[in-house]
Symmetry: none
Amino acid sequence: MGGTMDRTKQQRRGNTRQRIQDVALELFAEQGYEKTSLREIAEHLDVTKAALYYHFKTKEEILVSVYDDLTQPILDLIEWGRQQPHTLETKQEIIRRYSEILSGATKLFRFMQENQATVRELRIGETFKERMQGLREIVVDPDADLVAQVRSVSALFTLHAGMFLLQDLDGDQESKRKAVLEVATDLITQAHGGGGDE
Amino acid sequence: MGGTMDRTKQQRRGNTRQRIQDVALELFAEQGYEKTSLREIAEHLDVTKAALYYHFKTKEEILVSVYDDLTQPILDLIEWGRQQPHTLETKQEIIRRYSEILSGATKLFRFMQENQATVRELRIGETFKERMQGLREIVVDPDADLVAQVRSVSALFTLHAGMFLLQDLDGDQESKRKAVLEVATDLITQAHGGGGDE
Amino acid sequence: MGGTMDRTKQQRRGNTRQRIQDVALELFAEQGYEKTSLREIAEHLDVTKAALYYHFKTKEEILVSVYDDLTQPILDLIEWGRQQPHTLETKQEIIRRYSEILSGATKLFRFMQENQATVRELRIGETFKERMQGLREIVVDPDADLVAQVRSVSALFTLHAGMFLLQDLDGDQESKRKAVLEVATDLITQAHGGGGDE
Amino acid sequence: MGGTMDRTKQQRRGNTRQRIQDVALELFAEQGYEKTSLREIAEHLDVTKAALYYHFKTKEEILVSVYDDLTQPILDLIEWGRQQPHTLETKQEIIRRYSEILSGATKLFRFMQENQATVRELRIGETFKERMQGLREIVVDPDADLVAQVRSVSALFTLHAGMFLLQDLDGDQESKRKAVLEVATDLITQAHGGGGDE
DNA sequence: TATGAATGAGCCTTCATTCAT
DNA sequence: TATGAATGAAGGCTCATTCAT
């Protein structure tokens, strides 16, 4: 009986859940959450829609599961950051590590970036906002002047955006990431120094 | 007769098209494009769905019309920018003017920002990309080093993002805009100066 | 003021009704009745849908008016036929005249032929059926054997079908009509003679 | 369990697809393709519209599937005819067999006959035209004179039309079919003999 | 560990028609 | 002799979800 199962089916055994997550993320990132139907995901995997429901309770839960798996490092980073003194060095290190995290799950973060309107209405929306808030609290000094605060936020955001907006620029992926990181680090450094004009 | 028509209906006459655009933008920005149905728009206006189709050929066309009306200033800005020498002053002026344009149509740009995945598949997607490209060409020096280029792009992007990401920060709208503008101007200035590490 | 009216508008004066009929028949014949919308007709004429309603009460009435105008000759033919003795000569003459009538309003008859399902549900459906019945009564001898009756009906039908089904055959329109007429005449003649096998 | 399901639902299991085809053909033939809505079909079957879409991708595909199932015999006939010498006997046999095929799927062919305008725009339109062309090529001698060719085409067409146009005539279905077949056979025979006047 | 069959809600769109001007 | 604006009904289709097997 097992012998009649061909290689493809055999490989599939036991990791369908993972495969669903992979395909889903791929499609969500490419086409957006709403434009990606469960039918489409199922077809890509050569299973039925009902199979998806064996592994996940809803469409949203597929996304949530991917999100949870891939953003754990951010939680860890925040955890770590909270226990450090809020020195410039800490902030720079946060920026550095965050840059690495982002490039470790490009697809997900691209998805989050491009589907904000959708994500806002989903469970992960709130969660993500909280995490960003968590990062901010470490990186932004609430007593600094407005310009300094903006600079800090801009540092975080430059990292985020960098991944997608630089696609048209020349240069290999890694050196672009380095450049982005440098700009972000500069921003955070300037913000720490003083911020405004003086 | 005519007198039997109540105020509400009368006011409506002749500006339904405009009202559709307003409500649509409002809802698109709030809930996203896909999540906003024509039924919903129609209900907000107290007309039937079919009335929308008298004024616009498709759902997409409603968006396009809003987009065209509201982004004309960007076209003008690009036009202007192209005729200037690419000096630092020009770039700073571009940044300044772009900041003003953005804050003149917050809803639309928030929509564009938060619905990138959707927008990418629509007609306006390509258009918008082209315009951004147009701005970049003026502001980014292709011969500068990578870091300088990133800084320039980051300037543009900081403007974009600034409008939404700063909502949780203290301060009134206008002073926040000023702060964002300052950071962006700094970025463009540094980029022009040299860019990198020296 | 009349002087500002250009040639096109001027020509239009007073014959809009006729132009509606022409365009409508053209489109009905080409695309079918249901697939042709009033919007389409109006656009072809460069007027609004509402203008059509000034001239005709309903979509169906446009068709009815065309039908009535163009099938009057059939009524006349039936009238004439009823007053003749049901001799072979009469039948042959009916066939001959009917052939002429058909080729005088090809579009309408093509329409009738190709939209039977639709036409059946319209007012003209019943009317047309009656007229065909009228022709039959003259041409088909109810006392003849079944085969003879079929031959007679086939004669009529061959005329009908001939117009459309022969489009792929070689030869000019007129000589094809002659050929069809000859076959139909033969059929009616054989039917009259005896019909069956003997 | 299982016992709680009433007879009706139980019967339904596993043959819904077939039932859709049956009901659809019935309604298409009766009211025409466009006038028959999916809602109507669904209601006749006591299922939802969405159920139809589980079994067929589009409305058109329902028709196509019926068409394909029911016109396979024509393909076989053409196949057979092509391998025979184009003698009179072959032609007569084609006519005979075609007559049988037609009376084996009356509803479909009535539908095709009465919805030509619609069918022309559908996928089956082209297909059907090709098949008719296939039959013609066997039955019509391209070197014969025009009248002979018309006679041949008329033979085919008389068969087609015979099924519907004779409904008002007396006589049972089968003897009418025989009569029609005889007339068609005569036509094909005369066409083969010479055709014209001599 | 999946599938086959179906549902209910909703979507975008089109249509014939109306009516005040 | 027309138009501008709108309506109500319906149509085809897609989607996330369910459930018995």
